[in-house]
Amino acid sequence: MTQTMPPDLTARIGSVLLKNPVMSASGTFGYGLEFTPFYDISRLGAVIVKGLSLLPTPGNAPVRIVETPAGMLNAIGLQNIGVERFINEVAPRLDDAGATYVANIYGRTVEEYEAVARRLAEVPALAAIELNASCPNVKEGGIAFGSSPGGLSGLTRRVRAATEKPLWVKLSPNVSDIGAMARAAEEAGADAVTLINTIIGMAVDSRTRRPILSNVTGGLSGPAVKPVALRMVWEACKAVRIPVIGIGGIQCARDALEFLLVGAAAVQVGTANFRNPNACVEIIDGIRDFFVREKIFRLDDYRGTLRTQG
């Protein structure tokens, strides 16, 4: 390999500058601190913490997860410590770790979403708020807001008005027209859209005749959903001007590159962290190596360069 200067992996999500385009996906990375034994989490583009609600949430009864072919279903029910404890106990330690971090939030009502967003103003270092308008696993949860353009734009407008922070809206894939959902978020003032959240699925035991998950249905994630996620991210990129953050089944650098190729400004890595806690940093290194091999100097020289004609 000839001597070359390292490629510039900087990713820009609106006003937010990330040192690289690889983030951890919410709910698959705890509050970030759990990964400090494995590597320095300040190396990540950003850490997206587990979905936060106004009050601590107990979550669903077990069984909460089940493996499926090349994927898994989860119905955690958004168990979390609540925004209060996040602000007092977690945020300071993420600051100490030098991490760039984003809070994923949800509420059972629009008012709860607003309240959580407002409270987070107290965290100066918080890079952005990711609005989970699509959690399939809480009865009242975001899904109500997340399945129609109207519902989504209403929610987004309200939360937009409640915070100065950059606002990322996380989209549900369980819709007929993902482009329309992305546009609804854009028009309502979102700074970026993130997709995909999990696809609603189900698993049953043919012998006991019972659902495997206490919640009956759960959210599908992992390699199995990658082709669907990639297509939706591609459609969203064509539908909006704001940055699109790609998620879904990313396991290795090559997967991440595919999302960047179809136009994603950055990616998030979720389920892959479970089998390989080092997945995120290995993906960052893999993207860098690929750029060096292919003589690509800046992320933007690669991003969105898919050639669909001849």
Partner: protein, 272 residues
Amino acid sequence: MPQGNARFVHGKILHNAGTGAFYRMEVAVPDRIDFVPGQFAMVSGWPGNDPLLPRPLAIFRTGGARGKGTVEFVYKVVGRGTALLSGLHAGAPLSLTLPLGHGFEFPAEDRFWWLVGGGVGFSSVFPAAAVLDAQRSDFEIFLGARTRDQLPPGDWIPGANAPGRVHLCTDDGTAGFFGTVASALRDRIDRRKPSGTARVSILACGPHAMLKSVADLALPLGFRVQVSLESSMACGFGVCWGCVTAIRDGGNSGYRRVCREGPVFDARRVVW
């Protein structure tokens, strides 16, 4: 909150062979692993994404030195993941995240130890036995299985030589005590000379129903009972909240992660 010494390592299988109902596998790892009995590893290594998730296995034994360690596991083939593991040959690569979870506690004031293993549950109580044996503690081992051939080989049992130490039980009476481990414990309790006031401390691992009956039997007698629970896991190190179990803890009751606050819990806190 972070488990200080947990790490993700690439290992190489040294040997992996079936002995009776169980497979015993030794894996070479980059460094020596220090662990607390009851702690476990998340293990994967088969090619492809199906099965996708690593499988939790209790750390049976570790060895080696700085820069050159070994880890041993004992497992039973119950499904696809363990079947794939059993098909791996010496030299095959394996990915491991370890050591994980909250293991057994050994309070100095406890003087009589009863270690209870049901099925493959012995894989997490034998390491405890090894510790107690090393510190010359007074311990007995109760092993339950459906039939004789579901019991571990005698030479796997730490300190088995000591007379009256090992109690075997089989549901079909083909070996040792004819009945469940719980009934064997009750029998042992009846025969027990009240040696002072020192209470017995029980460490148990095995099927959920067995753990419950052991707790129901021993807690009323004031024994201290620690149980190692099982649960389906995705990450094994506390980031997915998939493995929880309900824990009684006064005003602070709720779902706890078996992989992190557990797998070993105080039996009094477990909501059975």
